[in-house]
Symmetry: D2
Subunit: 364 residues, 4 copies
């Protein structure tokens, strides 16, 4: 078993890039949440490629159908199934990859482990399968909204260009205004230029995506092995192309002392807060009521059109490879949607697990 | 449920810093593994404090007893229970922390979530409970050794002092020779000095711990939600004080292009390898046969003797706090043992899950 | 989470009687199993109603579509999704059941627990949702066949009419020849008559279904809480209308002594067998190599056209109810298919868990 | 993994009959439940052998120690560990069973599956390991008591002697007055005589144990695979010696019609009840507010002193076996305590899962 995540709010994902369909079942969403296909569709549209020069020009008409779980406009506690039928996927010949794994792609692992590997468009290793994450995330976000929790993911670095910190609402507005989904309008322009120049070279570039969740109550997370930071790290690291996850100050803690970065508590207008948020809202594996801040390192798309060294696994000999086609020169803008969805899934799960949301019925 | 991890090789941990005992049950270890209390004791001794100036001078006589799971010197497939009875733990008065959470400690979350919080020595939030991890890790390492898999964790950064890269065997040797458990003998000296100077100031300092696992076969990890990188990220982030996890190049991928860091495949002496290992041995969530390399960011010990701002939760007012006592000025050396154990647990679990180790009996 | 079962071979089921679709995801089926939609369709056809006088005359054109998990005619290790779109389901008005739970149906629980209950045709409480079980069971049976394991379920009692014991192959043949799916051709006729007479009276009748699995190796089952008998009891009791489960002699053990029913071991043609099989193939929670025999008690269909007492939950007053429509006068014949599927799912799961079937790839 | 059960209220059991200790960890009990070792001890004392002629004369001084999870007399949300050190267990030589499985005992499965089998006193297959169930059950019962839920298990049949039905309070009283733990004082005497006569013959006898739980709210159980009846069936069937489980009318439903046994709803003093309780309090996999009634078939103790046929697995030849020692001539009285505990564990788990008990803190 490997295609499910979450204990109470649980996603089971299915489908391959060029198979008949992709989708997900969301089990454990409480009854009486208003939900329409449109709620999911609008999140899917954000990750859809072909909307600007910085993503692949491939067009994917990702139209969601809900097969179960809604009764009279509201969830009814039964599993919610969302499916998108794949269309026009067999336009290209992928047979050159049958025995030749693409460098820094998952192909080799799939071949070794399962033997029968659907190499068309990366099969189930394709980024396209994150549609399942987004279906789950859209429902999770709607559920969290009933508790006033909001989440935003945005690009904070592409190559060596870094965004300046912005407040939550500015980020939410700005990411819809530039194709990079960067919260800093100035940096966004430079990032776009860099991506387009790499695209021209037949190359790709990496970056960093930050996610912020606000209004999360204190006490989410189950020590010592289902901690909130551990569960977030897992789901975020599970996103293809992610090679690092940090919470709060992250790797910067290494070069600091306790007296410099400890988050002092204070009573602020009758509420407990911390003066700084170097912990990124999580201490001891539990939320402390401050904004939850994570960052993920996203590697450059491994599909590049430059010639690369690989092997022929059947003949067991070295072989050159060129990956033609229309690839994302930078995957970060689309990863923001998946990071936001993944964070929402974990938070929704823990809100139920910790008793803040009733496990079966919102009207209780 | 929150104190278990692993699907097939599963640790359930228990106990609090000042309670009667701490320990763990390891369920799912196949039968016929030779195992003695000594195998576990020698790992516990590595994380034991009081062995040098860079750790707390507290003495803990952590003597393991095995209560179940061994028959005639070998595991018998039943749960292995290891327990350490706590001794002399009630020497100190912790009552000043009853309503006053220590900055950047988990206290506040425990208080909010459970109400009845054992604040003595951090209760179950104490670093002492990683004894459970080490019990599990010791057994996992012994199990992995039957498959030729070896793991080492070492300190690669303290404050702004960085170790130079060393080969696997050098690291293994060097970490036993310096109290910092650093693989680079030169850097180790500087690190020790830095830690001692922070200790003198009543302060603490952070660092980075790297873990390398060799001889791991290709194909470990279950896409898309029980990937090997996700599971490693989760267990490593779950270690107290860890604020970041990276695999391979980690956050450095952001500033690179695909052509710079893609790992090209090659046939090398009849075996598939990659020319570089920027992926850290994991691509597409599965191992590729190369060494698995992770790094974690460890924050400075939040317990410092300098005066800090906090609050009184009963009176709901601000309050100063000073944390007296004998704390680790830098937790990194001891975290190496926990990181090594945690990595071993995940690898053992996935070796069974992926069919490389028989689930119930090594002699099959 | 409530719509998944199995650890390694895992079914996640979805859909409601009158919703857009019903189906299931099967996660954890190893790669390289030959599988077609036809393999599943032929099992679904066995549970399809409308094929004789003893089942409901409702016609359901249950045509399976496979949305994922098959590549070039074989499983590829990724989740297999089967879906059946519901057709012509809204022909009837169920609104009288909105606030009036049907006696001995699950309605009341659904109403109390989830609030928003799809009362059309029983919603997700309908027998129709066992299509998910059958999808999973069809794949499990195909997988077990590679290990020579075969399963058959047959009706052994309807009302007070009992079938005489028959051997495995006779049962397999006979159940296809009579609409009751009884292995004893003589009893089958009497059973059919009894069912038709109860149908005439607007009533329904109960019965007992037996399941036999042969060629199961010794050692399946994980003491002490994932035992094979416990897991079978759970999945069988989870079938709607089942009120009892027994293994081997079952409740008859109460009136016997140890010396009467202990199963003596013997070496038989170089193989270990038992002289009797009162244990039904499971001792100490593990299979012992003998045929695995279970029986389930199936209650009479609670939907009867006779007038019954119920309540109006909105007005909180008593109310009479008559359940019109075309109901199965006896659910047992169709339950055989679900019992067979359920048994197959548990055996497939345990064959993988116990290391008899490789977890990811049949060709290993 | 096989020694854990429960999702939110989760027991992990360990230990073998003649190993150093037996016990259990209970993870997921909410904080602020008053709990002492005495609460557990008094339940353990009920299952303790040697208290009358109908159980084994073996003396077991089963003294519980709590190693974790209690702070200032109350649970604190962390795992509760109970352990009993085994004493004087090596008084007997069991080596004749090393290669010779006892008929209808689990030995053969353990030997085949794990290879290294602790055959002393049945190892982990011994009835002694149900101490873990009772530790979990004692805590579960205390937790359920806060919600007014009470459970009683009693012997309703031994051999062919059947108890007459009694009301809940009479049963509770009577079972403490006779060694058979039968709720019907008259039948109890006959049962005791029957057991003693079988004991004299070196034989054993089976029986039936019924469990009743009252004041369980409607809506427990998670369709379709974590139903309350399925979860009860599983944990009860997992008890050694149990060969059948039924809910409500159980196997008697087979010979009835819907009109005879459907449970009509009624409004009774402003509350919803059913006129009959043939469903045993569970319909559609969910509780309906009526008493939850289950019965289990308990086989005669397979250890009998009469000579039996078995085999030598090393020499692969037939061999006679006589099981000397002091065995329970009827296990039913002691099984009542395990059935009660098992039922309590499942109900506690589902009370938390369904949101009736807060998952982390009773004071919320």
């Amino acid at each position: 078993m490997s295609n499910s995540i979450g204990e109470k709010f649980r996603i089971t994902s299915f489908g391959a890039s060029h198979g008949p369909a992709v989708g997900a079942i969301v089990d454990g969403c409480p009854a009486n949440l208003e939900l329409t296909a449109e709620d999911i569709q609008k999140e899917l549209d954000k990750r859809k490629p072909g909307t600007s020069g910085v993503t692949t020009p491939r067009k994917e008409a990702d139209e969601i159908q809900i097969l179960s779980g809604i009764f009279e406009g509201k969830t009814d506690g039964t599993p919610i199934t969302g499916v998108i039928f794949n269309k026009n996927q067999h336009s290209k010949d992928y047979s050159m990859f049958k025995n030749t794994p693409r460098p820094s792609h998952g192909d080799y692992g799939w071949m070794m482990k399962y033997g029968n590997y659907d190499y068309n468009g990366g099969g189930r290793g394709s980024g396209r399968i994150t549609i399942g994450h987004v279906i789950g995330g859209a429902i999770a976000k709607k559920l969290l909204k009933t508790q006033n929790i909001e989440i935003v993911s945005h690009v904070v670095q592409i190559g060596d260009i870094k965004a300046k910190p912005q407040d939550f609402n500015t980020i939410k507005e700005n990411i819809e205004k530039n194709p990079v989904r960067c919260g800093d309008a100035d940096a966004a322009g430079e990032m776009e230029e860099l991506i387009l120049s790499k695209k021209e070279e037949g190359d790709s570039v990496g970056g960093i995506v930050e996610t912020i969740a606000v209004n999360v109550p204190a006490g989410l997370g189950e020590p010592v092995f289902d901690r909130l930071d551990g569960d977030l790290a897992r789901i975020l690291m599970n996103i293809g192309a992610v090679k690092g996850v940090e919470i709060g100050l992250g790797f910067d803690v290494a070069a600091h002392t306790g007296s410099e970065i400890n988050d002092a508590y204070q009573i602020d207008d009758g509420k407990v807060t911390t003066k700084t948020n170097n912990s990124g809202g999580i201490v001891g594996g539990m939320s402390n009521g401050m904004p939850i801040v994570s960052r993920i390192a996203v590697k450059p798309t491994p599909s590049i059109s430059k010639c690369q060294d690989s092997i022929d696994l059947e003949k067991m000999e070295n072989k050159k490879i060129e990956i033609k086609g229309r690839h994302d020169p930078c995957i970060c803008p689309r990863v923001t949607v998946v990071a936001e969805s993944s964070t929402a899934i974990i938070l929704a799960d823990h809100m139920i697990r910790s008793g803040f949301i009733h496990p079966s019925n919102l009207e209780f």
